[in-house]
Each structure stands twice: as structure tokens, then as C-alpha cells.
């Protein structure tokens, strides 16, 4: 085999000359200035773009926006990588607004996932199935797979600032939801239906402010107890407020006339109702993120989840952080009754048993004052505050 010099000595001399000139330029610059002034360019043989595939359990809105944080973290660690995420079909539109996500893959719908796992006598966890199947892909540095658990392990192992990821999530959540809101609630049917329902439930034009109340989420530990729900509803009714009860299950409390029962609804329908509320009281669930995106004054009740990342990014959010130990639930609930446990709940869920209305009164007052501010143009609240 011939060397370059043997093949073409002239070309070789020119190349040597150019290399010498390159070295001369570097020698005249300080090491710091070199890096500043001469940017790194891609190598001649560019490696393929790394693919990162984020998979989360088919959860709710909070899961999706936290994937926004994870995606941001991925882009920091691997700026050239392609980041794909996998979410339930009904939340694809949210995922598409995530700034650091290149493409969103829909799985589901959730109903299918749940029924599929139940048919096999297992806990619904379709995405974990998917994840496990993809885990068998040989490790070649080309594909990276994270699910929530491994994401957490990885961030711990690699000393990535997981908190920063959470902050990204909150930031992503607020901006993403704001962008996605028109798409969710702009269906004329949903909005018209919501307007009619509210007009029907609260016919009097002088009726009080409308409070959206979401006492339950997908995490059992976040759910409010029936006792507390009753106590809070009584308090709200005493204050001449109207309540839109936003829950996925039938209320276990006796609602008064000035309330709107809105259960067994899908997320779009809940969003259409929430959009018309004056203030929101919610646990850590999708309604919390929705309220932030709608810029509604909100009381957020947190138990296990740390509210810190959200406080800086969610406008008009007053946080009630339950800091006591969660206790075994002894109250009857729909879940226990459906399983035949009666009054003795043995499903193992732990609740905020010591939470009382007094704990949220201060936050509620603050939120009402915010909503009563003229800039909010909330006539019902202003009238009440006077």
C-alpha cells in the first residue's frame, strides 16, 4: 500500500502546509481563547444521532409534564439526541407541546390498557409491558430507555440533578398546558354542554362564586377523606359558594342544591367545566395543572408530592402541604364498599386523616382575595368580597 506522500507528494506538501498554519493560529491564542474563537465542528464521520426513548406508565397529565422535565434533562446530557416519548393517546396533544420532545408516540387509550391488564388478572400497567419488551434490545449505545423507576435510578447513579428535572417539569407543565388548553376545551360541544350544565345548576344570576372542587386523583394518598370532603363542602356552602364537584367517582357525600355533580367524566369535559370556575380547590392531580394553565386562583393540597417545584411556576397557586404522617384509612369509601369491606377499609390506602378545613382556610382566603381582584373580572367573587 502506498502512503499519501508516495501517491501525490504535492498534495501531501500542501496538506502539511495547512496543518502548520492551523498549528500557528492555535499557538498565537491562549487555550481559553482557542475554544471561544474556534468552535467545535462535527467530525468527518458523524455518529448517528442517539435515540432516547422515554416511557412512563400510562398515567395522567402530571406524568406527561414530568416527562417534559425528563426530556429537558436528556437534551442537556445528550444535546444531539432524538427524544421520543410514549404517552396515552388522549394526552398526545399535551406531549406535542413539550419543548424538548422530538416526537410523541400514542399508546392506549387508557381504557383499553386497564381492561387488558384486568383481563389478565394483573394491575393495569401496559407501558411497563412495552418497556420490558424493549428492554431486550441489545445495549449498543444507540438506544437509551428510561421508565420512571429507571429514570430515578439513573439520575441518582449519574448524579444528575433530579430536582432540576422536576423544576423543568413544572415549567414545562405550565407553558405546555397553556398552549394545549385551546385544543382541549375548544370543542364547541364540550363548551356548550358545560355552559348549559352550569346555567342549569345555578339559575340565579346573583348566585355566589363557582368553586371547582377536585378531591381525588390517581394517587390514593393524595385523595381526601370523605369526612374532610363533607366538612369542606359544608364550609363552602355556608359561605354561599357554589361547587362544581369534579371527580372521577360518584360523590360519597350528600351534595346540596348549590352544587354541580360532575363525575365519571373524561378529562376534556372536566376541563370545560373547570374553565368556567372562579377558583379551584384540588389535590395533586390533573385539575391542578389545568387550573395553573387557565391561570385560575387555586388551592393545591399536597401530601406525598413535594409542591416546591410548582410554587415558582404556577401562578396564583396557594399550597397546602400536609406534613404529618399518612395514616391507614379507617373511613368507608367506595373502593372499600365495592370490595365488600364495609366500614372496615382494608385496601391498604393511606390518607391525610388529620387534615381539617382549618388547615386550608388561610389559603382559601388568599385565593378568594386574588380572585376578587378587579383584574380578574370575576364579578361573582367581587360581589361576594364586598
Amino acid at each position: 500500500m502506498k502512503s499519501i506522500k508516495e501517491c501525490d507528494p504535492v498534495a501531501c506538501e500542501f496538506k502539511k502546509l495547512w496543518i502548520e498554519c492551523g498549528a500557528r493560529i492555535l499557538s498565537k491564542l491562549t487555550p481559553t481563547r482557542r475554544m471561544e474563537l474556534i468552535p467545535r465542528k462535527g467530525t468527518c464521520h458523524k455518529p448517528s444521532r442517539k435515540k432516547i426513548f422515554l416511557v412512563r406508565e400510562a398515567g395522567g397529565v402530571g406524568d406527561i409534564i414530568s416527562m417534559g422535565g425528563a426530556a429537558a434533562q436528556c437534551k442537556i446530557e445528550h444535546p444531539d439526541a432524538v427524544v421520543n416519548i410514549c404517552v396515552p393517546n388522549e394526552f398526545v396533544s399535551i406531549g406535542e407541546h413539550l419543548k424538548y420532545v422530538d416526537s410523541v408516540i400514542g399508546v392506549g387509550p387508557l381504557d383499553y390498557l386497564v381492561s387488558h391488564r384486568r383481563a389478565r388478572g394483573e394491575k393495569p400497567d401496559y407501558t411497563r409491558d412495552l418497556y420490558l419488551s424493549i428492554l431486550e434490545i441489545p445495549e449498543n449505545g444507540f438506544v437509551d430507555l428510561w421508565c420512571p423507576a429507571t429514570l430515578y435510578e439513573k439520575t441518582q447513579k449519574d448524579r444528575i440533578e433530579y430536582t432540576r428535572s422536576q423544576i423543568f417539569a413544572a415549567e414545562a407543565g405550565c407553558s405546555v398546558l397553556t398552549k394545549a388548553i385551546p385544543e382541549w376545551t375548544s370543542t364547541p360541544e364540550e363548551r356548550l354542554k358545560a355552559t348549559h350544565m352550569i346555567a342549569e345548576a345555578f339559575p340565579s344570576s346573583s348566585s355566589g362564586p363557582l368553586v371547582g372542587f377536585a378531591p381525588r386523583g390517581t394517587k390514593p394518598a393524595s385523595n381526601l377523606t370523605t369526612e374532610f370532603i363533607n366538612e369542606l363542602l359544608t364550609y363552602l356552602f355556608d359561605m354561599n359558594m357554589n361547587v362544581a364537584y369534579l371527580d372521577c367517582v360518584k360523590p360519597e357525600v350528600l351534595l346540596e342544591n348549590n352544587s354541580l355533580e360532575w363525575f365519571n367524566c373524561d378529562f376534556l369535559q372536566s376541563a370545560a367545566i373547570a374553565e368556567q370556575c372562579d377558583i379551584i380547590i384540588t389535590v395533586d392531580t390533573s385539575i391542578l395543572h389545568l387550573a395553573a394553565a387557565l391561570r385560575l386562583p387555586t388551592v393545591g393540597i399536597f401530601s406525598l408530592t413535594d409542591s416546591a417545584p410548582y410554587e415558582d411556576f404556577y401562578p396564583f397557586l396557594e399550597v397546602v402541604q400536609y406534613e404529618k404522617e399518612l395514616e391507614r384509612c379507617k373511613m368507608p369509601c367506595n373502593r372499600a364498599i365495592s370490595k365488600g369491606f364495609g366500614d372496615d377499609c382494608c385496601t391498604g390506602c393511606r390518607r391525610m386523616l388529620e387534615l381539617s378545613v382549618d388547615d386550608i382556610k388561610i389559603s382559601l382566603q388568599k385565593v378568594m382575595q386574588i380572585a376578587g381582584n378587579p383584574t380578574f373580572q370575576c364579578e361573582r367573587m367581587q360581589r361576594m368580597m364586598k
Binding site: 501517491c7 498549528a23 493560529i25
Partner: protein, 366 residues
Amino acid sequence: MKHHNNIECLNKFRTRSTRTTGYQEFTYSDQSIFMDTNTLDLYEGDESELPIPASLAPQYPICPNKHLRALVLEVTHACQLRCSYCYVSQYYDEMSSVMDFDTAQEAIDTLIDPRVVERYGFQLGFFGGEALLNFSLIEQVVSYARAKFGAKVSFTLTTNGCLITKRIAEFLAAENFSLVVSIDGPPSLHDENRKDVNGKPTHAKVLKGLKLLKEASVKKVSLRATYLPSNTQLLKRTKYLNQLCDKGYGTNISVEPAFLTETSCVKIPPENMFAITEIEGSLRQEYVDVADYLVDRLSQGKTAYFKNIMVYAQRLLYKQHSPSECGAGVGFMSVNPDGFIFACHREMNSLIGKLSDGGVSEQDRA
């Protein structure tokens, strides 16, 4: 066999099983979906029609041109200029040949592997003669390639810059072309060698073309200067072209001696050959002056434009070793108007096949 770019269809899967090496099979009702475990690409259809998985590609080449990342179409041999150093001057008699769309289409279909395009992207270049003399073909080919490969294909064009019109500039900008425009330096140096068929200077026309490119916002325009041993003046050329870049007429420059290629590619006229002694003597000092000028620019916070030198500065700084400067015949090929395939777009002795004979001849390429 239908190819999916995403895995949206995964929501249909009910069971899964591991099978053929390199693929995972998912089944839903009677339908099977196969996922390439390296690329996550999905295929549905018959198992026998699956392409060789990416994990096996290194051992079993997917096609003879699996390394081909760039193809140059010599859309015409004709040119309206008669540059004194032009290496095809000896073929002026044959310069009337013009490529037709059928040949271009056959070249694209025969030589380019869509899977390579999908995975790595692809660069399709237009060369001449003066390529813009056959602009209608360029439009047709761009349209065809976009329809076939989408955004994965990018385009390059080498031109003397004299034929650029507003319409052409807007087309090049819209298709995100990377351009190489030949301009040897200030008018005195440029017009010395680059004259049209009537012997008239061309510098003013090139500047007009560059202005149109700037107005149309063509993003990548490399200014290419060529010099001969008889009149080098590297610093003067470099300064002038850097000033053009400062004004937004270019995004990079290269200043290269004529005929700097493998000797086997080009028949170099003796008078245009650089002697080793020249390179080691006066020319070296000129390059040193250019390097100092580039340092001055960098120190002033300006970009230093001089591709040949700055590339090596980057490689030295970031330790980016490059084993080969030229991918001719492997990562890069060209097709001339008559359908002959060359390893290098400068043709000469680098013939490696003919489209009408089925493409690249491995015997010739070897």
C-alpha cells in the same frame, strides 16, 4: 412490506415474542409487526420481506452502495466561461453533452439506497460544466428527490455564479442548497483567468449573483478561489474574500491551487504543476502571512474564513482525526450526462461503471 417511522401502532399489540435475530415480533390478531431492535423502526407485513436488520448490517452489506452518502450529477459539460486553468478544457469539443431527466432518475434509483438516506441523510450535488445551464433539470431532480426521500436529502451546487437570477436564487434558498461559487479574488485576479467565451471579464457578474443569493437568504455559500503557480497572491485573495463574507456574500472561503488532486485523477499540464521547492519556499511564507491575518481577525472577534486552514486548526484543537480527505468511489460518486459513473466528479481516469450496465462495476472500483 410497509414501513412505519414511529411506533404508534404499538397500541394494538396484545402479545409479544422474541424471534429472528435483530427483530422483535409483536402480534395483534392476525397481524405481525416487526421492530428493528437497533433502530426501533417498525415493519408490518410478511416476515420474508423484512430488510436485513441494522444490527447485522456490518457483517452483511445491505447493498453495494451502503457507504454512499453523496452523489454528484454532472448535469451538463457545457460552460459559458473559458477559464485558463479549467481541467476540462481539453474536452471542449465534447462539451455539448447535457444530462436528461431519465438519466438523472436512473442514477438516483440505481445508486442511492433509501435505507441509507433514511438513516444517515444524503447529499445530492449538481456539477458541470456550469450546472445552471441546465437549471430546468435541477428543478426536476430536486422535486423528484424530495418526493422520494423527503427532508433527508440535501442539495449542493457548484457554479461560476454568472447565471444566477432572482428566481434561481429564491429556488436555491427555498430548497436550502449549499453553494460553492467560484470567485478568485478581487477583479484584477479573478478576471485574469476567468473569462467568458468572448474573452470578457466575469467578476461583475459573479458579484451580482452573490448579491442575489444574499437577498434571497441562501444560507450556505462557500466562495472558492483557485490560483496558479504563476500568480499566487494568497493574502490579497484571502482578505478580499473575507471582506465579502463580512458583507454577507459568503459563509466560508477556500483558496486552493488548481489541480490539487490525486495525480491519477487529473492530467496536470506541466506549467501548472507546483514544484515541491516552490511550496517549501515562497508559498510557505504566503501561507504564514495568511495564518497571521486569520489570527488578527480572530483577535478582533471576527470569524476567520479560510476553510483549508481552519479545518486543521479545529482538528488539532479538538483532536478530530480524519483518516481520509477524499471519499471518491466509496462515500461519494458522480454520474456524467451520458450515464457513466465516476469515482470523482472531475472524471478523468476514475470511471467505475455505467448506469446502462447496471451501475457500479466492483471490478473497476477495486
